[in-house]
Point group: C2
Chain length 210, copies 2
DNA sequence: GTCTATATCTCGATAGAC
DNA sequence: GTCTATCGAGATATAGAC
């Protein structure tokens, strides 16, 4: 799917407006202004606010999530997969801070559109990232590298501990201002922090712990 | 702070409306209907939608977050603190599924109100949950129970891995329908899952892992 | 405190010229 | 495709009776 320059401008303005103000709080006038065009033109392209919103969800899934998913196909074992997943995921979120805000609002609303798009994406890609994850996880268990845990529980934990920081960092800066002042550094440190906790938290434990 | 019966009814209707539809998507008419009163009465009590919204944020902080915080004061070491934190937190979220939706929308908007209330709460409580956390975490390090990690990073990871599931479970049900069909069971299992991963992920590692 | 009725206004959407 | 001008729905908020 290829978009015209004007469409791209509308998408990025709309993504920002929806992320910051929510679907209902966003104003078509603001979206048009930020895109440098007239409000009527936004309607000309997308007919209604609802359709524009749906188009933005699709845009986000196709542009960001599919890429993320594809980038993980080549990993060969669980340890590598986990490290790449965390690194790539955090890089994408750090570069596109509007993404998690936008998506979490859709999810809080029950994810009516996002769910459909993700279902389609999972079905369409021959081997989606999720299947790759399950495969490597099971291999890890078989080879004694990972404890026999519920892979769904683990998947949620991995994703959540990556994303949540980008949603809530303004809150956490209340306890540690360093988080905002040296955001890039803290974000980078987050990669190894998460890998260490998760990878070693998943490893089998010879019964030496109290 | 004590509220009248009518105020309580308005709060719970408003919390639901704001959580499901967002601040701008929520309708004063719906809030009044669900509370079983007239729309004008909502304005009589709270003057405007904006003020009602602020009051709901305050209500949530006072009613839910402060309690959660207080319940952790009595724990005596890091291991116990971590286990109680995860258990209590997940219990509260499971019982009040609107809370995370409501709060995450406020946070996505930059948390203008929530931040202020939390600052006040942290200042006011003699020993807040957060201070208790830092104390136990440092003790854990001193006693060789925990690796010398950044406590802020760890705090974010703990909170995020608890909350995120409650925000995103409708999405994860796409890969494992069991999550929705046996929600209570999955939620309960989540407690030990998280404790195991986090506690053992934080432990020192005698260099026997590959 | 609680209601009905109404004022006011914002915003999504369209008509129609260019 | 792009603009100006405008309509009309629907929402917040208030006035005023009880």
């Amino acid at each position: 799917m290829q978009y015209t320059e004007t469409e791209e401008k509308i998408f990025s303005s709309a993504l920002e407006a929806f992320a910051v103000h929510g679907k209902d709080g966003a104003r078509m006038q603001d979206i048009a202004n930020k895109a440098g065009i007239n409000k009527a033109l936004v309607h000309y392209y997308f007919r209604s606010k609802e359709r524009l919103y749906e188009a933005v969800v699709t845009y986000v899934v196709e542009r960001y999530i599919r890429n993320l998913s594809d980038s993980l196909q080549s990993e060969t074992n669980f340890k590598q997969f986990l490290r790449s997943f965390i690194t790539n995921y955090i890089d994408v979120l750090a570069l596109n801070p509007l993404l998690p805000k936008f998506l979490i609002r859709e999810i809080a609303a029950g994810a009516p559109i996002f769910k459909k798009k993700m279902e389609a994406m999972i079905r369409s890609s021959k081997g989606s990232m999720i299947q790759t994850y399950y495969k490597h996880f099971q291999e890890g268990i078989d080879q004694g590298e990972v404890r026999p845990l519920d892979p769904s529980q683990t998947f949620i934990t991995i994703i959540g501990s990556c994303i949540f920081f980008f949603l809530a960092h303004p809150m956490f800066a209340l306890l540690n201002p360093h988080i905002e002042k040296r955001f890039a550094k803290f974000t980078d440190e987050r990669k190894s922090h998460l890998f260490d906790i998760l990878y070693y938290g998943l490893q089998p434990r010879p019964e030496l712990q109290k």
